[in-house]
Point group: C2
Chain length 251, copies 2
């Protein structure tokens, strides 16, 4: 056995993850932009809603995936730099998720004001329950991570206990975000393409929009598989630099 | 550091996994049995469909979860026994999944024969695309696992390369099965409780059925989190028995 980590294919997998992540963002943008009427802020509830899937996927899927890979991607950089980068990308994630959530609540509430016939209640579907749980866990994870590893940094023994929990929930929340996206995509597909009032080819006959919807979902799953592989493969684990070896567990 | 593995809470987590798995089976049975008209085989498409969620969750979620935990649960048993148990539970999973798939195809096709007005096409939704992918990956994984580790057993070097792939896909397929279930639950919720023709309290007003649906989904996610934790926690990893130490990598 070689003590050097086996980094074969690492760069290839990271590139594939970027391509899948960007493809999912493009697909959801095309779906909302070209098939669902485009985007508008606080004037048309239907088009304000369209920001919701776009921003959630940019934030909690694409950027989140990149954030959890930084330790392995920037393996030769100083640990503190990588930690700060990790925390900063997650702040971006939170910003996108926040605006994405505002878009869907606004859209539902604008409906209520009578702009369109049917009022839409908030937080009744399984999608919303899991989504809210995911966002809350994400925020808790960020706060616990910041306090434990960045500032003020809790005692080393506590960090040693918390780190595997942080790592486990880091991947779990990513997977939950993808699962929530898949449910949201399913809801939207049946609400719009699948609804009886829809004029075009129904979802069940797989029009172009239906194919885009299904490919978007499959790309999200593929992204989850690739990112999951990259961050759980022990060969790809970041090795401590020589200086860090002297201060073990400074993590 | 102690060389003995830290098994604190292991039994507790396994018990929680069993409770969550059984709860999900009971919830889907109650949903289909009490709210969706119960079960019937090849006479009423609506009630034949009801076998689909029940059998998929019993098979690809509950039993599958138990199958991937056997190495850790039966840690003191002989490796060969545990391998055979692992393969046998997965045969049961395949049986349940097979009947569960037959139920949904039958149900769609019975619709086509004019038993009820609307014909339902097969394999158009994202749920069906991901579900089919999951079942195909599951079957491939079973065949590759059997050939590699049980009979005829491929060369040790090949098994050493394949084992981490088998382990990774083992968890990935489980997570994909849960994600597919969540999409299926979402579809069924909006088709039945959420449909405009539904006479009772709509899904959006969260009737008892809607609450059962959402709790079922959240229980499946919790089960995924607990099983995922049990099978990825290095403390809980099965240690080779003294005899196995002499024939390392006999896996």
């Amino acid at each position: 056995m070689d003590s050097q980590p086996n980094l074969r294919l690492f760069t290839g997998w990271v590139l594939i993850a970027q391509v899948l992540g960007l493809t999912s963002v493009i697909l959801v943008a095309v779906w909302m932009g070209s098939y669902r009427g485009g985007f508008a802020w606080q004037e048309d509830p239907g088009r304000e809603f369209n920001y919701h899937p776009l921003f959630m996927i940019i934030g909690l899927v694409f950027l989140y995936g990149d954030a959890i890979m930084v330790y392995r991607v920037f393996r030769t950089e100083r640990k503190t730099f990588v930690k700060i980068l990790h925390a900063c990308i997650h702040v971006l994630v939170m910003a996108f998720a926040g605006v994405g959530l505002k878009a869907v609540f606004d859209s539902h509430n604008l409906h209520k004001k009578g702009t369109v016939p049917a009022p839409i209640p908030n937080l009744y579907s399984l999608h919303s329950w899991l989504g809210l749980t995911t966002v809350i866990l994400f925020c808790l994870q960020w706060v616990f991570g910041f306090v434990s590893f960045l500032w003020p940094k809790v005692a080393l023994s506590m960090r040693t206990i918390y780190k595997p929990i942080h790592v486990y929930f880091g991947l779990a929340i990513f997977v939950m975000a993808i699962a929530t996206s898949l449910m949201g995509i399913t809801e939207k597909a049946f609400f719009s393409v699948g609804s009886p009032s829809y004029k075009g080819v129904p979802y069940s006959a797989l029009p172009a929009e239906g194919v885009i919807i299904n490919i978007l979902g499959m790309v999200l799953v593929a992204l989850g598989l690739v990112v999951g592989y990259i961050i759980t493969n022990p060969d790809y684990e970041r090795q401590p630099t020589p200086e860090e070896e002297h201060i073990p567990l400074d993590q």
